[in-house]
Symmetry: C2
Subunit: 167 residues, 2 copies
DNA sequence: TTGAAACTGTTTCATTTGAAACAATATTGA
DNA sequence: TCAATATTGTTTCAAATGAAACAGTTTCAA
């Protein structure tokens, strides 16, 4: 999709709530930032999820399921992405000597170097893109999201079946 | 992925900024709410993107590209999803008499009924899930996101190549 | 010790997504 | 008018995602 700064043609629906508006905006901001990240990584031989795995891996190795927990996705999602990172030479799989079920995701020297080069620029670009918020507003946003996130982790009372089963 | 309320094993990286923390939390909240939505729609014969299209369609018909603009995705993404909604009988394609390029996405009576039944429950669940924020905090969050979103729509000055080309 | 249960990662399958190329149609400016 | 340009939606391909089933391994309680 091409990014346009033109005013859009459609207007807000009348039947809405502050919660829905906040959620809609959250999705829009998420979508925009994702788009920017994709664009940045375009010339770097990396996709967004590939870069994310690189960020969570380490030279000494991190279990795949620790990475999937931090990325809030299923193990099965990562198998293929790791395969592609291996093909590109940025990570490798090593068996965990202490637990034969575990496979450790290790940054190669090339991967570590890529990350050293990319991460600071990545953070700086994010900082610049959020400049429409003041320092104080960024902290306010962070605290609101932190509080919302904690609330989401706890089951909703007064509403059985209000959340996925914890299997 | 199964949703767990257990404390996670990993800890915050030391090298971080308020902006990065806010963005990470935004991704986490987005991921949680997406997970809840998926779970809710599970028994409703719908996926999240299918439900989203249903919400943007109407009895009188909406051009596909208007829907893709609101969903911030490419037209090509919607072709397949609309096909599946047609197969389920919730939507149909009709040619626009005024512009033969356009195909209007129209809710069928079944689709409209589904929506009448689902939408209020959907909004109510969202409201409950955000109860960890006070009414005032929800509005605060909404305004911060609104402001951030506006800033993201405008190109970043002092940083050419700081945003995808507007082709 | 051993058998049931839990955990880890892979495989498989269907769906979604991103991007490019394309055909059909519309718009515009010379 | 008419040729260049833009828009709309589809097709195609690669990548990512969600969910279920699975094999190998570990844990734990009887």
């Amino acid at each position: 999709m091409s990014l346009s700064t033109e005013p859009t043609g459609w207007q807000q629906s009348s039947e809405t709530t502050p919660e829905l508006e906040a959620y809609t905006l959250l999705r829009q901001v998420h979508s925009m930032l994702e788009m920017y990240n994709r664009y940045d990584l375009r010339g770097e031989d990396l996709t967004v999820p590939q870069f994310m795995i690189l960020n969570y891996a380490s030279r000494s190795g991190v279990p795949l399921s620790e990475i999937s927990a931090r990325m809030m996705c299923d193990n099965s999602n990562l198998t293929g992405i790791v395969d592609r990172l291996i093909a590109k030479g940025y990570v490798e799989r090593r068996p965990d000597p202490n637990d034969r079920r575990v496979s450790l995701i290790c940054l190669t020297e090339a991967g570590a170097e890529k990350l050293r080069n990319l991460r600071p620029r990545h953070h700086e670009r994010l900082r610049k893109r959020m400049r429409s918020l003041s320092e104080h507003e960024v902290q306010q946003l962070r605290e609101l999201l932190r509080s919302l996130y904690s609330g989401l982790l706890a089951p909703v009372e007064d509403d059985r079946n209000g959340h996925p089963a914890d299997d």
